[in-house]
Subunit: 189 residues, 2 copies
């Protein structure tokens, strides 16, 4: 899987022999079983994940109920766990499938950025791109009716329909499960 990371990077920057070697030796690719919790409420972590294969669900427990707020799949970065060192996590990250991810922490990143400044430039550009997309998605969410949200979801994340349970999709879209069932029936007609 180190090859996957190198292939991904070389779409954006020239990958030198030195960078390739540093990545191959880093051992930062990890495999997780389905059901693994990468982060738990109340625990401390500063890890970041870049998903090569699999699906990770972000959820909170509020009033005893799970509230799904995000799904991360292939080629998505989870930097949400970039909490401060002494701030306990308020949420969970659960592998919905066997998942392979590049896992890093601030020390590893700082070290890589020092050796390969072009990596930091890429990280800056990526963070800005993800942020722009995130702001857009949030704006669309605010403006859309529940039906529009679901139609938008079908267009932008069609793979998730098969990968995660419907009640989690409802929660993710901020819709009651009954309402989502009604919307689906209406659309099928």
């Amino acid at each position: 899987m180190e090859n996957e990371i190198i292939k991904y990077l070389s779409r954006y920057i020239p990958v030198t022999k030195e960078l390739e070697e540093a990545i191959s030796k880093s051992g930062f690719i990890q495999c997780f079983d389905k059901g693994t919790l990468l982060v738990e409420e109340g625990k401390f972590t500063q890890k970041c994940f870049f998903i090569l294969k699999g699906c990770v669900r972000n959820y909170y427990i509020k009033d005893g109920e799970e509230k799904t707020t995000e799904f991360y799949t292939e080629e998505q970065a989870i930097i949400a766990s970039a909490n401060g060192k002494n701030i306990p996590s308020t949420y969970y990250l659960e592998c919905m499938e066997p998942t392979i991810a590049a896992v890093s922490d601030p020390e590893f990143e700082e070290d890589m950025y020092r050796k390969f400044p072009e990596l930091e430039s890429l990280s800056r550009v990526m963070a800005e791109k993800i942020l722009t997309k995130q702001i857009e998605t949030f704006a669309e969410f605010k403006m859309a009716s529940p039906e529009e949200r679901y139609l938008n979801f079908l267009t932008t994340r069609p793979d998730l329909i098969q990968r995660v349970p419907q009640h989690q999709i409802a929660s993710y879209l901020g819709i009651k499960p009954e309402s989502l069932s009604r919307i689906r029936k209406r659309i099928m007609k």
Copy 2:
């Protein structure tokens, strides 16, 4: 106002004489009258803004109605306008007050990053921080009831109550104006 930028930067990185001079000479601080549209739907821009003084509203026009999705105030960066070169904007950015901002574009930034790599590191860290905050805010929005959203707003952005009209706050919180009035009355009691 160049001093303000330098003061802000020096909270995070050592500001050398060279960097201070480059900023002073850059002329990238601009003043905008109240009502100025920094970006309009259908227009092209790649400008980014860092607000030193003032308030900028992000809104869309949907079905003939303005939908407010964000307010940016002092020390907030608007990188939402980092669209691709050939992608027309889908939204508006309007100065709600006389506004002073540092205005940059990709060419200016690339040039500064080349000369002052520590600036690019800071931008990377900032983008990741803003992204983490944005993801958290979105998750909270999804999970919260309208009343919880308003209470949260009172805590996190209390200054905005005095700075922008109530119907725009309602739109920003994804609440109908009538519902916001009811919530406010309930809370006052």
